[in-house]
Symmetry: C2
Subunit: 339 residues, 2 copies
DNA sequence: GTTGTCGTTGTAAGCCCTTACATTGACGCA
DNA sequence: TGCGTCAATGTAAGGGCTTACAACGACAAC
């Protein structure tokens, strides 16, 4: 009955006295059209307030210029920063970002991927390699390109843009061990289905073995992301009879919590115990004492991932793995062991 | 030539020996189809690995089940938390989220809105009321519903789901003034085109007037989001001859920076100076001293916004403003003025 | 047995672009 | 003048789904 339809390509074409093909060309490949025609058409476009119908365009081109990302959570500063950079770069390249969060839940991630694909994502950004194989099967079946980030693993089947979590933590651990620490402990995010966390733990153990320590005896506690949890975890690690002199944290948030836990227990950092983080989020530069941590180039990673995906989609460039480098940030929370 | 096309509705229909209409109904309104037919069809769907073509569906329904959000930045914990909740709720309701960030730049926001609309967003989430009028014109022209958040302003032309920034800060300021503080100062995010920041400042000034102080004399410094900036701003405010005894910060991040600035300058909080934040992000519960701040229900806000938009899209429910309530969190960083 | 009703399924008309291919026309050159 | 060339434009065929409406068939009521 009543139709206040927005104008279509055809409306513009008729109004401007040209064919729909010409209008389409004016919009998408203006160089293929005479300046005169182009002006006439563009004038009509603005006059009518025309804007292309998304669905029709998506159908005709089989593209949406939208890329999906499934991340554990945006609330974690680590992901927020990388994701922000990813979005900014996508924007520069003419793409939009769809976000879904899996809350570290395996089945949920499957559903999210399915949904993003159903919503027309041209490609996907994923975090880490470990996930339900269904996801890879789905992506292969639908021929959706995907890129793994927050880790770099040349041995994995899929391309990744990230850094070597294991090597980074190993380097840090060596520094700590060189200071003479013997009793280490680790507080990590839950290890199950988190290859980044697993790799970091592995790096620590590697270094221990190098230094002749028994890595099997390493006390390990697992806590979800959260400052409060860091404090709790710290207390848990310190209540045994043989207290560690250096506590490695899988991420800075837990480490900041540990610093707080130490303060609550009246312990001096690093006098009584050293605390080491991972990520170098902004927060770690303002704690007291300043946090020793591994600096991760999150923004660079997000940007590179965006560029790689877009080049793949636009120019058919192969999706290749890229390794980014981390750096140790040795700050006040690390010192020699007590005594 | 070579086509490894993915199966279409038609393929499924032929294979299952029914019409495309029936297949479509099985997928979208299963209750309208006999159980027997439905089973047969669904079996074929899985057998063929069929999944609907996004573009075609979008074209036929004029819907994408995708909602866009334009936020200043995801890196700010405040937005990250609310956005996360928004996304989770959208997901529960069967929608996807597209994110764009404006970096507080007016023109960029216009472009982002345009892009999200062009990418088929069914509706938009926006932060605050102040923006280029072009945006509202565009949304009206294309009939894209939108909802404003992070603020509640019944006098504004557009519906909003949020809280009264002015009243919240006014309440906090009263508490501080009741303690006897006379020399106040404000550190805020840049005020230009940020109605939330402006409202918070206004609330502070209101309270000052109530208590007989000259609000025009209030020292104000503006710094972008960032812990480091908070420290810088603090130093700036404390270097005058008449030092403030209470510093109001427009957000917790600046406040945390201020705490750090105080420590750097060897000042005691709240002995020498009280520091007050806004937002109650996780961080504020672990600083030393704990931060006095205004608690904002970011998650609740995100959820409500999602529900309101979806109800509007699905059930044509009117988009109505909702006011959420903030709470004062009086913690150790606030004390009586020195002397 | 006929007719009417109603629940189920089928038919086919859009929805609005893009683009391969066809057509046109201007121009240069013989 | 006639012809070939090439750039500019037009024609029309999809592309895959939803849905109004038509058709059908089973069953109940008379």
């Amino acid at each position: 009955m009543m139709k206040a339809q927005s104008p279509t390509l055809n409306d513009v074409a008729m109004q401007a006295g040209v064919s729909t093909a010409t209008v389409s060309r004016c919009l998408n490949e203006p160089e293929k059209v005479t300046a005169k025609t182009r002006e006439k058409v563009m004038a009509t476009v603005t006059a009518l307030g025309y804007s292309p119908n998304f669905g029709a365009r998506a159908m005709a081109t089989q593209r949406t210029n939208t890329i999906g990302a499934v991340i554990p959570t945006m609330e974690n500063a680590i992901f927020a920063r990388g994701l922000q950079a990813f979005q900014e770069e996508l924007w520069r390249l003419g793409f939009n970002l769809m976000v879904a969060s899996s809350s570290y839940q395996r089945e949920l991630e499957v559903a999210q991927v399915r949904s993003l694909v159903a919503r027309g994502a041209d490609a996907l950004l994923l975090i880490g390699h470990i996930r339900d194989p269904q996801i890879y099967a789905l992506l292969d079946a639908q021929q959706i390109p995907s890129l793994v980030t927050w880790t770099y693993d040349p041995s994995a089947a899929r391309p990744s843009v990230g850094f070597d979590n294991c090597a980074a933590m190993r380097d840090m651990a060596r520094k700590v061990l060189e200071l003479g620490h013997q009793r280490l402990a680790m507080m990590t995010a839950p290890l199950a289905r988190n290859d980044r966390a697993q790799a970091r733990l592995l790096g620590l153990k590697d270094a221990m073995v190098e230094f002749g320590l028994n890595s099997d005896a390493l006390p390990i506690v697992e806590y979800p992301y959260g400052i409060e949890n860091g404090a709790i975890g710290f207390a848990a690690l310190m209540q045994g009879s043989t207290k560690p002199t250096a506590i490695f944290c899988g991420n800075d948030v837990l480490a900041v919590g540990a610093l707080r836990g130490a303060r609550d227990m009246g312990l001096n950092v690093p006098g009584d115990v050293s605390i080491i983080g991972f990520d170098d989020i902004e927060l770690s530069q303002v704690t007291y004492p300043l946090l020793t941590t591994v600096h991760v180039p999150h923004r660079d990673m997000g940007q590179r991932a965006a560029r790689a995906l877009v080049r793949h989609l636009n120019d058919d460039a192969p999706l290749e793995s890229q390794e980014l480098h981390t750096e140790l940030r040795l700050r006040a929370s690390l010192g020699p062991p007590p005594r």
